[in-house]
Symmetry: C2
């Protein structure tokens, strides 16, 4: 597997007040990582079109998806549907660029027209449901229902439904075990879990639908997805994190200098935070009262970063809307750029995340767990810390194989978490400024710890699992391909011996006495002169 592109643009826009977060790069700076082998060059030329598309800036990609979403509608459909008739009916309003069907509380379709005028034409022709109309809020969104009265002939083919959920750990384990190499396993894992084109379109469409609600009062606003929906590390089924971007409202248009001038009378707030809370509280109320299919709306306004949380049933997404959170967009862009450097960066992140999820190191429930974002930063840090460092030197990355995963586990199985912090701005360990179990510096807001929530117990479990997984990979036995039981990466997803819960032998591993197994484990770790905080995990080892 090789890097499929040669040039990656680190394109940072100038963003008022955020210059200090721009990783020391000047605005508009382009950092080129050029691959040197002729094989790679040939491959690059072959894929000119794809590369051209992929070399677009993060902003350009987001802008295109946003624009596509604005030309799209989401239609709830009856269970049986004649796709051709459906498209013919909608084509009366203009050319359809794309469409797809999926299931979420029934059949749904996303239809993208080639022009925004088609949306206007379509909406003109649609009514508020006539029955009991006064017991419904007559809010006209781009969320529609298809009525198809009478019986439909069932001899036409049913359209394909695009899957929007990830496979289960068991299904993944099964799937991976059928591959030919661990390298292929990791690639397969990424391809199985990553967001599909359709899923990303649906995420942008949900943002666009929410923008219609917010845009009622703030016509220049944009609602942008951030985090895993756009950073290329998102897994099917992950939440949609959104930012309400009001910057466009403040664009100045009035000439200065003349005597008289007018300005809008506006409601003042006690602080920027108070205004953000006020705006989010109104949007939360609107979503709750007017938004079809929006349920479980919670306005969590006292959080450090105030947010509105809700479930959007027509898409099946759990959504978090924040405002005034520009740093989050920069974080997303940073990860996106790291992911673009080499496919293996993403493979490593997906495998570490999948492994962490399989062992309940991460959870969908808020708590003292390590977050996926923290794990991703830990991967980046690890790749910077390798000797020689892998990030950002692309040449070095090519020389390395899937040993990266094993080394990742060895690195963090042995990291001096009790005194060192993880800092991807500097690319090296730093002394922890506080006593929280895990300290990962926020790369943009450098005084913040992105893993402040993690407690000692959770960190100990993580370290113990890293050590065990490293040990398993060192044994080589699990790397032997097998058709009748999980092997390779799939074996790492089986219940752990150190996790305490469901202790089962991993894939016919000989049950040596515990002391012997731990001795091997300790031998395998190149202890860099540091103690670890893995007190529980290392308690047996010290006997």
């Amino acid at each position: 597997m090789a890097a499929s592109f040669g040039v990656c643009r680190l394109h940072f826009r100038a963003l008022g007040g955020l210059d200090k977060f721009c990783l020391g790069l000047e605005p508009q700076t382009q950092v080129r990582f050029t691959s040197t082998t002729s094989a790679l060059k040939a491959q690059t030329e072959k894929k000119t079109a794809k590369a051209a598309k992929e070399s677009r800036t993060f902003q350009a990609i987001q802008e295109e998806r946003k624009e596509e979403a604005e030309r799209s509608v989401l239609i709830s459909c009856p269970p049986k549907i004649n796709e051709k008739k459906f498209l013919d009916y909608l084509s009366k309003h203009g050319t359809i660029n794309k469409h797809f069907f999926y299931n979420s509380y029934g059949a749904n379709a996303v239809v993208e027209f080639s022009s925004r005028e088609s949306i206007a034409s379509l909406k003109e022709s649609i009514n508020i449901p006539a029955v009991e109309h006064e017991a419904a809020v007559p809010f006209k969104s781009r969320l529609l229902s298809l009525k198809w009265p009478g019986s439909q002939s069932s001899n036409h083919p049913m359209p394909k439904f695009k899957e929007q959920s990830p496979p289960s750990i068991n299904e993944i384990t099964q799937l991976l075990s059928e591959r030919d190499s661990m390298d292929e396993q990791l690639q397969c894992l990424t391809e199985t879990l990553q967001l599909t084109e359709e899923n990303i379109s649906l995420r942008f469409l949900v943002c666009s639908l929410l923008r219609d609600i917010a845009g009622a009062y703030f016509p220049e606003c944009i609602i942008r997805p951030f985090g895993s929906s756009v950073n290329s590390f998102g897994k099917l089924g992950c939440d949609v994190d959104m930012i309400l971007d009001l910057d466009g409202i403040y664009a100045t248009s009035q000439k200065k200098g003349s005597g008289l001038s007018l300005e809008y009378q506006v409601k003042r707030g006690a602080s920027e935070r108070a205004v953000t809370q006020s705006i989010l509280s109104v949007i939360g109320k609107c979503v709750d009262q007017f938004g079809p299919g929006c349920v479980g709306v919670q306005s969590i306004l006292q959080a450090r970063c105030p947010l509105v949380r809700f479930a959007h049933q027509p898409s099946g997404f759990q959504c978090d809307l924040t405002a005034n959170n520009r740093v989050a967009m920069k974080s997303s862009e940073l990860l996106f750029l790291y992911g673009k450097l080499d496919p293996r960066v993403r493979h490593l992140v997906f495998s570490v995340r999948c492994w962490a999820r399989a062992h309940s190191i991460t959870s969908s429930i808020p708590g003292a767990w390590i977050t996926n974002f923290s794990l991703t930063v830990m991967v980046v840090f690890f790749l910077q810390q390798r000797n020689p460092p892998i990030l950002p030197t692309l040449d070095r990355l090519k020389e390395l194989a899937e040993k990266l995963l094993q080394e990742f586990f060895e690195f963090y199985g042995n990291f001096p978490f009790n005194k060192a912090s993880i800092n991807i701005r500097k690319g090296k360990e730093q002394t922890k400024p506080e006593t929280t179990a895990l300290y990962i510096q926020n790369p943009f807001e450098t005084t913040l710890n992105i893993s402040k929530n993690v407690n000692a117990t959770q960190l100990e479990r993580f370290v113990a699992l890293c050590r065990e997984s490293a040990w398993l990979l060192q044994q080589k036995e699990i790397l032997k391909q097998s058709s009748d039981s999980p092997w390779g990466f799939a074996a790492l997803l089986l219940p752990s011996v150190t996790s305490g819960a469901g202790v089962k032998s991993r894939r016919k591993r000989k049950l040596e006495p515990a002391s012997s197994r731990i001795k091997n484990l300790l031998d395998s770790l190149k202890i860099k002169g540091g103690e670890t905080v893995a007190k529980k995990g290392s308690a047996n080892a010290r006997r």
Copy 2:
């Protein structure tokens, strides 16, 4: 004083589900009340233009005012203003039809352009305030602030400021006493208290500004003023009652018949009432959080007719927004039509209301008082009950003079409130269906009592004051013009002997022994064989 117009159109629109409230008139029916005397005919011809304007339907008048409001902006101004420069500056955006200045928490101007495009052009050129912009909600309304930096020369004339508040009772008393006849007093009272053209424009503008907030989600909605703002009986300073009219949203545009059809997905509510509450709660929240100058916002959603109440500081109005309250518009139209039949109808209503306010029979605070709407219906009922009836016979009305006010007091000073109800649909007394002190049938919702809130004490005070005022008018003495003390109607506004509070002699009236005065009073009342509920007021009389 004579009727200034000959034709009055009772123009009832067909309104789904409200046919039964239409006073038995078919939709589109025109009832003509033609005055027959030649004097009146001559007058009518002379005032053709005015008559043409005045003969427009209620709906046409409301529509024109609404449309004017949509072309208007409200601008907060510095204390000193050069009117010419101000108008020159604004004229860059188009022709100005009308403008006026007034005071409410500082100087303000209403500017009406001749075209809506001017508003768009103006808004294009305006910014959100630049200082501390992030601590303000960047909602762009038609409520603007004029900045006029530097010192203005003070040698230009200041613009005239239009008064938006009524004179005090003392000022009214003074003003009336300078008139030449009681007839003129009543006319002067109406002219002094009634809403000015500017005040009505400002009311429609506040509705239009609120519509911009509601229209964000319901583009076809209209916010209509109703009640005293439009029924021609409003007094300067009265509240602005508004209805959110969503009927336009349900206008059907889709052809039926074909197989497939689309409809909007909408949020369902448990009932029409629940949906109304939901919509009002969101609008209330938006007004509270985003509406500049909107303070004291209360969402009173559990009321029989759920409402949002707020004070609009830029206009100085107290506003009540309801929804789904179509009957209220019909009530407003009915009173408007009665007011149009003859100017004396309005004079009688204004004088009765002013008299009631002077004696605290009515109050701006909610409570067990009689409302202005009830008083107005009582006037209408009295005019129907006179023998021969005055409403709707215009000829009869002409034969009558200002004796009407005296007869009004005699009528209600003697009305069998304990057993009879007031019913202007039938134009006659009916047996009370319940034991509330005062029963006035709602003319549109006939099972409701519009004066349910009035308790026995308040009714007794009303009856006692009617008797005393009738008695004073019968004495003729107060009708004698005087330059040094209140006379005529002004004398009726002086503190009462029966009210208990502040008992002072009215205008040099000889203080006869109480028993003698009451005897005269009783003699003056033609008791129609009925007891009255005025127990306290008649306690002395029975001695």
